[in-house]
């Protein structure tokens, strides 16, 4: 039997489950259609939230495929928090295990990118590091220092041309994706998150910084991936987009 709310929970997300007993139209007549209002409200609200969260997935799959997929997902993975802005956390793993879409192996990474864009949009504001701070730091001190990334910065590693896939489906006239691996960096200089393509070595450098490595260690990570790694273009991009917040020297 369970409590009233257990009965509701079971029947709300399972259209084959019987409607709980003891629900009436107000005059005492039993009703199924009235319970179905709640079933419909919950399902439609969750599907709408997923449509909002994953516009590129929706475009890639088309509404005729996305909506049924979202319905299956919503019933299997209802939100675990009232913060609907982050609903869909399990979508990458769900897509990884969804046999009918196995041939579109890049979809889970597209979902990861779209979730990261929302995290970035709602992340804390931060003051950008002044390039003068880096310029004023003696090179030997600098290489033992750590750079903190802004709270809005997100990194999504991928073996797919992830940035090009995202751009092709969001920017009119963007070139078709080529068969190349692209990880993605998200920055947020103002209020709008902006994705950028990363080489494998650039990703390695950023990932090292994000996990607390100093600049020597980050350089070693990047060089191990690509011996010709040049930090300058990446550092310029990070400074230009407010992606760095503080330089922590070994003395700090």
């Amino acid at each position: 039997m369970g409590t009233r709310q257990s009965q509701f929970r079971a029947a709300l997300l399972d259209p084959a489950a019987p409607v709980p007993d003891g629900l009436t139209d107000g005059a005492g007549a039993p009703t199924v259609k009235r319970f179905d209002v709640y079933r419909n409200n919950v399902t439609v609200a969750l599907i709408d939230a997923l449509r909002t969260a994953f516009p590129v997935l929706r475009k890639l799959l088309g509404d005729a495929n996305f909506d049924p997929l979202a319905r299956v997902y919503a019933r299997a993975h209802p939100p675990r928090s009232p913060l609907m802005m982050h609903y869909g956390q399990d979508m990458p793993a769900f897509l990884d295990g969804f046999a009918p879409l196995k041939h579109l192996g890049y979809l889970p990474d597209v979902a990861r990118l779209e979730l990261a864009l929302r995290r970035s949009y709602h992340a804390a504001d931060s003051a950008a590091l002044d390039a003068q701070v880096l310029a004023a730091c003696p090179p030997e001190t600098l290489m033992g220092s750590c750079l903190q990334l802004a709270p809005a910065v997100q990194l999504i590693p991928s073996p797919w041309p992830l940035f090009d896939i995202w751009r092709y489906n969001t920017v009119a006239g963007a070139p078709k994706p080529q068969a190349t691996a692209q990880s993605v960096l998200i920055t947020r200089a103002g209020f709008d998150p902006e994705p950028h393509a990363l080489t494998a070595a650039q990703y390695a450098w950023l990932h090292a910084c994000q996990t607390g490595a100093n600049l020597t260690e980050a350089q070693d990570s990047a060089s191990a991936t690509d011996p010709a790694f040049d930090l300058a273009p990446l550092l310029g991009l990070l400074l230009q987009h407010g992606a760095l917040t503080t330089l922590t020297t070994p003395k700090d």
Partner: protein
């Protein structure tokens, strides 16, 4: 029970609208009769970015009402401590003129079902909801308003009428009420009651805010009318009539226009606010 010294600042007795980000510029340049805004608390529980920046700007010009849609005041389990902490942070930051939530539940175990789900009106529900309201009011150090739901069905085990249930909650907890006249009209139509009969039995003295909004029309298994609370249209004529009926008894009150789905351009929402202003203009001060 809330200490009377914790009476909170109140909203202007004037029209307000549910805030939508697409109306940010229009609200600042031509607010019309709108002097206050209501936000859904959960949409501003991120850490920063544009949502927070817009609120920072708006709170300089408008009184703010924080309206929760995710606290699950009627839930069988305990209130989510993480969510309470987020709510407290938001209220501490915004210092809103009002905080309100719904007589409903939405969380079960660890799951959030993203709808305002109905409650049987029993002694057990009354005790549980009163305890949860006490917990919220103690935490926030302020009075909260509780909104009447839109009902599509009734529970065989209910032993209280909704109006008696709400009256008893205000007595036990000292909470105020958010009277949604669209919900009153929807529930009365759906459950075969009269809306004015509901208002005659409702504790109007406890009202701190009134909602008007739009609904959809459907029919139930037996062909009886079934109204759906969609907030996707202008308010229907009978809802405006009900607003007049309520205002003649409460005196001037903060009146909010809700429009959450298929949100129109600003002029259409402003026209609804103008209509609320007209309704308020005919009411003598009590």
């Amino acid at each position: 029970m809330l200490d009377a010294s914790h009476r909170s600042p109140s909203l202007p007795k004037a029209p307000g609208v549910g805030y939508k980000p697409q109306h940010f510029d229009a609200l600042r340049s031509e607010p019309g009769p709108v002097t206050w805004l209501e936000i859904h608390a959960e949409n501003y529980m991120g850490d920063g970015g544009r949502p927070h920046a817009q609120l920072h700007a708006l709170r300089a010009d408008f009184a703010i009402s924080v309206h929760g849609v995710g606290l699950s005041i009627g839930g069988e389990g305990r209130l989510d401590p993480d969510h309470l902490a987020r709510l407290q942070r938001l209220v501490d930051w915004l210092e809103p003129a009002s905080f309100s939530e719904h007589l409903a539940w939405s969380t079960h175990g660890a799951e959030f079902l993203d709808d305002l789900l109905p409650l049987p009106y029993t002694d057990a529900t009354l005790t549980r909801v009163a305890d949860h309201i006490d917990e919220v009011q103690d935490l926030l150090g302020r009075q909260m308003l509780l909104e009447n739901p839109s009902s599509y069905l009734a529970f065989a085990e209910s032993t209280w009428s909704e109006t008696e249930f709400l009256s008893e909650l205000t007595r036990r907890t000292g909470c105020g009420l958010l009277l949604d006249v669209n919900n009153v009209f929807i529930s009365a139509t759906n459950l075969g009651d009269t809306a004015t009969g509901y208002l005659d039995a409702y504790p109007l003295h406890a009202v701190g805010e009134i909602h008007v909004g739009g609904h959809d029309e459907d029919a139930d298994d037996h062909g009886a009318p079934l109204l759906i609370d969609s907030h996707a249209h202008p308010a229907a004529e009978p809802v405006w009539t009900l607003l007049d009926y309520a205002l003649r008894r409460t005196g001037p009150a903060p009146v909010l226009v809700e429009w959450d789905n298929d949100v129109p351009e600003w002029p259409a929402l402003r026209a609804e606010a103008d209509r609320a202003a007209s309704a308020l203009a005919t009411i003598p001060a009590h």
